[in-house]
């Protein structure tokens, strides 16, 4: 009985995993498909991985995507962490209002957020382009940073900061030496989350990009009807595999560090 229950558990978790990863596996296989039509296997090829680098529009979309994710996550990490310190010191009512506003981009539908940005930029006659996308991405990224950093900052033993002051540190030095290292994991995971969200975003980018500027998402969307270029599969597969390997490496390093510690 017990063994069978355990077996069912394993199979169930396995099936969900397959469900999540089947399309991804398919896309990676597709990137090696000689045939351009996705229904037919035309033989194995590395061709798309080569021609990818000569396709200026894909490279540009890729650069835009990475640049947006980097800039928006770094800026939102800085603004968000600063905001956490301030918000946690606020009186309860003010804090609730700020957290309520912070939650809006997370609770709101992406389409409404996207549309609201579009209307703002239209009304202010701001030229749509890289800048408008960046503003939008920073805005929807900050909540991820705040929601990640805030619990960690509030859980912090306040005596640690006071201990540093007590030992003669200035407030800034005490913050850098004691508070920052303690909340760093939360800042990094918030930042990583923001980076991921920015890379994966399509809807809000769609409404704030205007003509001419493409990210990978908007480029893929515009290609869907005509058929997606195989180079796009190759690029996406490369990004995915790179991130996967990086994550596994980081995990290994952390895992072994933890073992040494114990």
């Amino acid at each position: 009985m017990k063994i069978r229950y355990k077996g069912i558990k394993r199979v169930y978790i396995g099936l969900i995993f397959i469900f999540m990863y089947a399309p991804i596996a398919l896309l990676i296989i597709q990137s090696f498909n000689k045939s351009k039509s996705r229904g037919r296997w035309g033989g194995f090829t590395f061709e798309w991985y080569g021609s990818l680098f000569t396709d200026a529009s894909i490279i540009e979309a890729f650069t835009n995507t990475i640049l947006l994710a980097l800039l928006s996550s770094v800026i939102s990490v800085i603004l968000g962490t600063m905001a956490c310190i301030c918000i946690s010191k606020m009186k309860k009512k003010a804090r609730n209002i700020m957290m309520g506003i912070t939650n809006i981009p997370m609770l709101n539908a992406d389409i409404v957020t996207g549309v609201s940005f579009m209307l703002l930029f239209l009304t202010l006659r701001i030229q749509f382009g890289f800048g408008t996308i960046l503003l939008a991405h920073i805005t929807f990224n900050i909540p991820y940073v705040i929601l990640s950093v805030m619990p960690s900052y509030r859980d912090l033993n306040p005596h640690i900061y006071e201990a540093a002051l007590d030992l003669g540190a200035s407030p800034v030095y005490a913050f850098i030496k004691t508070v920052l290292p303690e909340i760093m994991p939360a800042i990094l995971s918030g930042g990583l989350m923001a980076f991921t969200m920015s890379i994966d975003d399509f809807i809000i980018t769609h409404f704030t990009a205007g003509a001419g500027v493409h990210t990978l998402s908007t480029k893929i969307y515009s290609e869907v009807k005509l058929g997606i270029k195989p180079e796009m599969y190759a690029l996406s597969a490369m990004i995915f595999i790179t991130v996967l390997i990086l994550l596994i490496l980081v995990n290994r390093v952390q895992g072994s560090a933890r073992k040494e510690d114990a």
């Binding site: 005596h159 006071e162 007590d166 290292p181």
Partner: protein
């Protein structure tokens, strides 16, 4: 007495309209071991935080060696704190924790090395320099926290319930360790605790606090033997606390039974509170004592037995190494010297204290 080091000059502090300290005035001398003792919420920790500079009093001032340091930030004060739960920097090893303050003061490397070595030796953790503080036991973390504070050669070490998180055996060992360190360093220790046993064991001076007031201040012996009011008597040690009448000098009555005592100056026929420590309640054979009663409970406490004796409806608690039987009839004797007479609380505030305490 020795030189005056710190003067907390009529300090008041309230949070959100609730007074935590009310006109607290306290003088601390050089090289003294002072304990602020009281139940939680009595203002002892707030007093400590005002001393360290983490809080600013609403009224009053903090005088350190004649200079007003009320608004001096904590990093500029010659006091260091051992925090409750230690507040160690968990991302640093033991040596870096201890070196933290010295590095800020830009001491040179060999000086820091020497200091770390000295401090670890003092707290009995030699060879722990490169250990991560996360993997230390509670007692070891406690020692690192002390080492981290004392390497800065503070004039005063503030300790905020430092033994609270340790188990009983370790707590008793650390009490002796702290006294030893105090003697070796010859600096002032200001110690906050709610544990009367700790206070009685270690202190030169105990300050008993409740609801933002100082209830009594004095040596452990005077606090224990001559509590000034019911709160102190009740808070320090076990005690029998009875209402009585001060008939005249050296004579009181408890439930109309006369008891000779040694106190004078409470007037005549005045209601007072009377404290008798359980170990001073002598159980004797029937017919040989001042009052008679019946034993209702006998509890073994380790060193002694605790007996509850019903005397005409009032319960007396007695401690003795010789157990009695339940329902045994006994008489009670109290030496006049062991009867402590106290004034009834004057204000309603004090009354409330007594009922809650």
């Amino acid at each position: 007495m020795k030189n005056e080091l710190i003067h907390l000059n009529h300090i008041s502090k309230s949070y959100g309209g609730k007074a935590v300290l009310d006109d607290l005035d306290l003088v601390i001398h050089e090289n003294e071991f002072v304990t602020l003792l009281g139940p939680s919420g009595c203002g002892k920790t707030t007093t400590l935080r005002i001393l360290a500079g983490f809080e600013t009093p609403d009224n009053g001032s903090v005088i350190f060696e004649g200079k007003d340091i009320t608004n001096l930030p904590p990093n500029k004060r010659q006091l260091n704190t051992v925090f409750q739960n230690y507040a160690l920097f968990t991302h640093m090893d033991v040596a870096s924790n201890i070196a933290f303050g010295l590095k800020i003061k830009k001491k040179d490397k060999s000086y820091i090395e020497d200091k770390i070595h000295y401090a670890l030796k003092l707290v009995g953790l030699e060879g722990f320099e490169r250990r991560s503080v996360r993997n230390l036991s509670g007692g070891q973390q406690q020692r690192v926290a002390i080492a981290r504070a004392i390497v800065n050669e503070p004039r005063v070490l503030l300790l905020d319930e430092p033994l609270g998180a340790l188990d009983l055996k370790l707590r008793q060992d650390m009490q002796y360790e702290l006294i030893r360190m105090k003697n070796e360093l010859s600096i002032t220790f200001i110690y906050v605790t709610h544990d009367q046993q700790e206070a009685l064991t270690m202190s030169d001076t105990i300050v008993v606090m409740n609801q933002g007031y100082i209830q009594q201040m004095g040596t452990p012996e005077s606090i224990y033997n001559e509590p000034e009011n019911a709160f102190v008597a009740d808070f320090i040690g076990d005690s029998n606390l009875f209402p009585g009448i001060f008939i005249k000098d050296e004579l009181v009555t408890i439930d109309d039974v006369p008891f000779p005592c040694t106190d004078t100056g409470f007037g005549t026929n005045r209601p007072v509170d009377i404290v008798i420590r359980p170990e001073d309640v002598k159980l004797v054979k029937k017919g040989e004592g001042t009052v008679s009663g019946v034993v209702t409970d006998v509890i073994f406490k380790g060193v002694h037995y605790e007996m509850c004796v019903d005397v005409k409806g009032r319960e007396w608690v007695a401690h003795s190494t010789r157990p009695r039987q339940v329902d045994e009839e006994v008489d009670i004797n109290v030496h006049p010297y062991n009867i402590q007479v106290m004034n009834k609380p004057e204000s309603e505030d004090e009354e409330a204290v007594r009922e809650n305490g």
